[in-house]
Amino acid sequence: MSILALQHRLAEGLIVVLLFLFALLQLFPLVWLVDFSLLKSGDFFGSEVLKWPDPPQFQNYVIAWERGRIPLFLLNSLLVCGVSVAVTLYLALTLSYALKRLQWRLSKFFLIVILLGMMIPIHTTLLPNFIVFSLLGIRDNYFSLIIPYVAFSMPLAVFIMTGFLESVPKSLDESAIIDGCGYFAVVFKIIMPVTKPALVTIMILTFISCWNEFIMAATYLSNEDLKTLPFAIYKFTNQFGADYSLQFAVMVMGTIPSLALYFIFNKQIIKGIMVGAVKG
């Protein structure tokens, strides 16, 4: 028995070593990024794989924070993502309730149409939306991001929400209607509380995809002051082409908000992605 236990221990040790080696392969470029972000730009050249920053150039971060106008872009990102998430949640609730719980002839048709939206690559709408938003006069406006972000988050959100509603007993909301409760009151007072797990999943998935979204921001925005964080990082890395240490510092700062969120909510995020990815 003790030999078996020893064998088991050994096998476990071997697995940990293997997994660790692979994690190193995955994360080493990030270690390199942080290391080099603390060097002087002139010290980049050389053949060392990692360099001990002597002394660490923390002012890279100070300069990048100011010249990269990071606080402004963080705020823009938060605003755009916050509004997009809120609207997506509202629409997921109302649409799913109407499509799943109320009986009307075209409900199935509309459900399929909305779900088909999951298959449309955002890239095929970039050119026409560029024109539509120009004509509507909302290019260079937060709405030119919020509208497509909501539109492209909605299909997956409805997919998750309608799936979750299947497990909620119909009697719950039907009896409320019979008791004279209005439809909107049912959605927000009865459906919303019981579908909290689905709402959390939708919130996380929508937030992550909006937070990291780049190509629409690069297409619909040209005003410097409205840029979201990923687009700002892109601009900055091009603008300071030769100043590598500043570029690296900006890239590290760009990862901090997402990683912070990830370390706090890792369980919910991982669970949400497992749910969402299957059909995303």
């Binding site: 476990e12 997994l19 995955q26 470029p29 990024l33 109407a98 298959m119």
Partner: protein
């Protein structure tokens, strides 16, 4: 249904449908129209029938090579990334508690980082003068293999595929890991009691039970490969000389770099149709695992 109900349905559905039509449906229709013109921008479009589409499908090598690149990326996902994901997921499943959670969190870190940062990071890893890759080669005595990874016509595509596969690893891993977590523990125990070795368990129990998960993941990988854009746009812009071109990036550069707006919209329409067709085909194919339509 009584009248109040009809008003309610309209009130509940209208905002969502409005957004949907404004940002997805109407643009697609507009794209279809613009694809039939020789538009160079917002105004002065002339209707030219199916000329763009004929040109695209019969005479555009870049378009076809973009599709081929997408296929190569898809195969790279399936043949290189997925086996590693399955292996690591199986290994991780054997651990438990804090240790399991620790690695699970670790493996997904790169997937959480914005595509802009990860791509720019990799552009620097490949940098010929100070990049991590060349310095690593130098450090292990393979200095002769130092390359201009993304600038060399023959190396650009493999280099781009490698980084794209690295970037997508976290999601691939998580999907397989979720699938493996779904295999009932009793099956493993029963097999072990019967004296089956680890490899036998893997090939006789885990993989066969994982079949539906594998089918879904392979489908997703092919579709994601087809939709690839951001990494290409940020790393190489499709160059050098279209060696790393992908469809979405191609239509984008046609529209905004060479102002062939009508032609770009024709690519866009064909692209949307390919994606839609492929998804529906795969969906039919995997119908018994819960199809969408």
């Amino acid at each position: 249904m009584h009248k109040s109900n009809r008003t309610t349905i309209v009130l509940l559905m209208a905002p969502g449908l409005l957004v949907f039509c404004l940002a997805i449906l109407f643009p697609l229709i507009l794209s279809g129209y613009l694809g039939l013109t020789d538009s160079h921008g917002i105004s002065d479009a002339r209707f030219i029938g199916f000329q763009n589409f004929v040109e695209l499908l019969t005479n555009d090598n870049v378009f076809w090579s973009s599709l081929l690149n997408a296929l190569l990326l898809g195969l790279g996902y399936v043949l290189i990334q997925h086996p590693i994901c399955v292996l690591l997921a199986v290994l991780l499943d054997k651990l438990s508690g804090k240790l399991e959670l620790f690695f699970q969190i670790l493996f997904f870190i790169p997937a959480m980082i914005s595509v802009v940062v990860v791509t720019k990071l990799w552009v620097n890893v490949y940098n010929p003068s100070f990049g991590l890759l060349n310095n690593l080669l130098q450090a292990v005595g393979l200095g002769d293999f130092k390359q201009e990874w993304l600038a060399d016509y023959n190396l650009a595509l493999p280099s781009l595929l490698a980084m794209t596969i690295w970037i997508g690893f976290g999601y691939g891993f998580l999907l397989y890991y979720a699938g493996i977590k779904g295999v009932p523990e009793e099956l493993y125990e029963a097999a072990r009691i019967d004296g089956a070795g680890e490899w036998r368990v893997l090939f006789k129990i885990t993989l066969p039970l994982l079949k539906p998960v594998i089918i879904v993941n392979v489908t997703l990988a092919m579709i994601n490969a087809l939709k690839q854009m951001e990494v290409v746009y940020l790393a190489t812009g499709g160059g050098p000389a279209n060696a790393t071109q992908f469809v979405a990036n191609y239509l984008y550069s046609k529209a905004f770099l060479s102002s062939e707006f009508g032609y770009a919209n024709a690519i866009s329409v064909v692209f949307a149709l390919i994606c839609l067709g492929l998804t529906i085909a795969f969906d039919r194919f995997t119908k018994k695992d819960g199809g969408l339509v």
